[in-house]
């Protein structure tokens, strides 16, 4: 998928982004950098005012959340949107139950176990209410639900923000499994360790614009952070790079 210079509604953004299948792209940025706007545009919550989105080579428009889902773009929002009082099966199939007038509980339960097994998820039972599950397990259920529609691209908005150490590792494993299944993953995160641990590429946004793109193997946390905070884009750094350029020019 390619996003070419989309311009947001609630905040001016001008972002380029490319994601291939089987690739995890992390999007990092400080508050107000435009990450949320980008997620909203891709999930169809907000329509962009200009710019192009290409999916599988074709230009697409994503006017509604449903349109986004139909294209195969699934989004797991930070608040997960699960019903605490319903069990795992009911949550997975909420709004898309099998057999509306005589719910196919058995079919749905079997499908739930299939999904969770594919993700190697550790859920003790699918017949307990979501309230009984840990934060990591809830994240797993939310991701499993987004897989029901057989998406090609999955957007995870701060999946580890509220999790402990072990649960974070669980979710990161899950992200790797999604990649191994050939899905494109967009990972929005503030956590550099998670980003370095799981992403293939890091796209840094700052003040609504691209501010650097790195391959994870070739970049240090400090470099990413300075791109986020804008330390690479100020008078001092510009002057430093200007001098370096001048010295190179002088040397040749």
């Amino acid at each position: 998928m390619t996003v070419g210079s989309v311009t947001g509604v609630d905040r001016p953004v001008d972002i380029h982004l490319t994601v291939s299948s089987g690739e995890v792209v992390a999007i990092v940025g400080d508050n107000g950098a435009g990450t949320s706007t980008l997620v909203k545009i891709l999930s169809g919550v907000h329509a962009p005012t200009s710019g192009t989105i290409r999916f599988g080579g074709d230009p697409v428009t994503l006017p509604t959340p449903q349109a986004s889902l139909d294209r195969g773009i699934a989004t797991v929002f930070q608040d997960l949107a699960l019903c605490d009082n319903l069990d795992v099966v009911a949550n997975l199939f909420l709004g898309q139950e099998k057999r509306k007038l005589n719910l196919d509980e058995i079919g749905m339960e079997v499908r739930s176990w299939e999904l969770l097994r594919q993700l190697s998820a550790k859920i003790p039972s699918v017949r307990i209410p979501i309230a009984s599950l840990s934060g990591g397990q809830r994240q797993t259920v939310a991701i499993a639900r987004s897989l029901l529609g057989e998406p090609k691209l999955i957007i995870l908005d701060e999946p580890t923000a509220a999790l402990g150490v072990a649960q974070t590792a669980e979710v990161l494993n899950l992200v790797e499994r999604l990649r191994d299944r050939g899905l494109g993953v967009i990972l929005v995160s503030h956590n550099m360790e998670d980003v370095k641990a799981v992403a293939d590429r890091v796209v840094v946004l700052r003040l609504g614009r691209n501010n650097g793109e790195f391959r994870v193997g070739e970049v240090t946390t400090e470099e990413i952070i300075s791109a986020i905070t804008g330390a690479t884009d100020n008078a001092v750094s510009r002057r430093a790079s200007g001098r370096a350029g001048a010295e190179e020019g002088a040397a040749s």
């Binding site: 949107a81 605490d84 319903l86 176990w113 307990i128 599950l133």
Partner: protein, 411 residues
């Protein structure tokens, strides 16, 4: 792999609660964690019956219990409607007025204007449905809390009821009209009652066995035949004992059977259809329901329609029971009794938890208290105070169980 572990029991952290002992152990664990289900209301019912029986031996007589069931049906139907609005986390305080208005419309059309009985009933019930639809529109489009909408409705429709009844204030419904017969005289013959009990148990067993076989075929855990047989035996024993006892007097009235049938239909709708599932979802997390593609507004509207329609039906049954529609129809404690019945039965005021059966069991508690105090020659002043205390206990239990559930990690 003949002894394969069922798909849903492969996690090593699960206790394998299989067989009879396992089923008993699982229920005990649920209760300890605050997932009380229908247990408090059943325990409460037993306590109340024991106390009143000690105070007055007439209380548990077949005659009195038979009357008690008949007495329960009208407000029970109203309470069933309340379950729908409570499930989505809303409230309808005007069900009493709506039931009175429905009785008034029916009496005026049927008695004064000579309209055919089915048409008069249809008109009254449709009035309820339209009121519920209007509530839904106001709630969805203007955003007025249901508490306020229905408080306004409580006054407004009481006024409309008085207006419809006109200067006389009371309209008597002829004793030979089918509605009054249903409310006062029509009892299920004893052979049919036993047949109904047998059919109920048979349907229960067939459904459970078929369900268990399908689950096993799909590689899931399923209750063993032993568990099903024990459950069926308990069900059969309760039904047959109740029938044997009640048929020493007039037995079970058709009106009560109608109420139970409504409860069973509502239970199916709430637990086995996506429409019912949406009620729990909206009550549990409205935003999650909306993002799942559930039409949240339509669910709210249908909850208000269900509540007001069932209130209208309950009003008709009450009119049949009293053989009149009066200015006092649906007034007084009808509102509170209906809401109290749903809450006592275990439907949460906080939304997202409850069952259609809570209306049935809750109204039995309310009617038992009312009947017991009447037998003791205590007037309504005491009855109001005792009912008030019971409601408070029920809501406190709801709140405490909720706290226990959250500390034990159950919804």
């Amino acid at each position: 792999m003949t002894t394969a572990i069922p798909t849903d029991l492969q996690d090593e952290r699960l206790r394998a609660d299989t067989g009879l002992a396992g089923a008993a152990r699982a229920s005990l664990g649920r209760i300890r964690d605050g997932d009380l289900g229908l247990l408090p209301v059943i325990a409460g019912l037993i306590i109340i019956w024991t106390i009143f029986q000690i105070l007055n031996p007439v209380f548990l007589s077949p005659r009195n219990l038979s009357d008690l069931l008949m007495q329960s049906a009208p407000v029970g139907v109203i309470a069933l409607g309340i379950v729908f609005v409570l499930l989505v986390g809303e409230i309808d305080l005007s069900v009493g007025s709506i039931s009175g208005l429905s009785a008034a419309i029916f009496a005026v059309q049927y008695v004064n204007n000579g309209l055919a009985l089915p048409l008069a009933i249809l008109l009254a019930v449709l009035t309820g449905a339209v009121i519920g639809w209007v509530y839904g529109q106001i709630y969805n489009r203007v955003g007025v809390p249901s508490f306020v909408i229905s408080l306004a409705g409580l006054l407004g429709f009481l006024g409309l009821q008085l207006y419809v009844l006109g200067p006389d204030g009371t309209i008597n419904i002829p004793f030979d009209s089918p509605l009054v017969l249903l409310g006062q005289l029509l009892y299920v013959p004893d052979w049919l009652a036993y047949a109904l009990a047998a059919v109920t148990v048979a349907v229960f067993v067939v459904q459970r066995v078929a369900g268990a076989r399908r689950r096993r075929a799909a590689g899931l855990s399923a209750p063993t035949i032993g568990v099903i047989v024990v459950q069926a035996a308990i069900l059969a024993a309760v039904l047959v004992a109740a029938a044997l006892y009640l048929y020493q007097a007039s037995g079970v009235g058709w009106m009560f059977v109608f109420f139970v049938a409504l409860v069973l239909v509502a239970n199916y709708a709430l637990t086995r259809t996506s429409w019912g599932r949406a009620f729990f979802a909206v009550g549990g997390n409205r935003e999650a329901a909306r993002r799942s593609g559930i039409r949240v507004r339509a669910i709210y509207t249908s909850a208000f329609i269900a509540s007001a329609t069932l209130a209208a039906v309950g009003g008709l049954l009450a009119a049949g029971r009293l053989s009149s529609a009066a200015q006092s129809s649906g007034a007084g404690d009808v509102n509170l009794n209906a809401i109290a019945a749903a809450v006592i039965g275990g439907t949460s005021l906080f939304g997202g938890r409850g069952s259609a059966f809570s209306a049935l069991l809750g109204i039995l508690v309310i009617s038992s208290i009312s009947s017991g105090l009447t037998l003791l020659n205590l007037d309504s002043s005491i009855r109001y105070m005792v009912t008030g205390a019971v409601v408070l206990i029920a809501v406190a239990l709801d709140a405490l169980a909720r706290r226990s559930r959250s500390s034990h990690g159950r919804a």
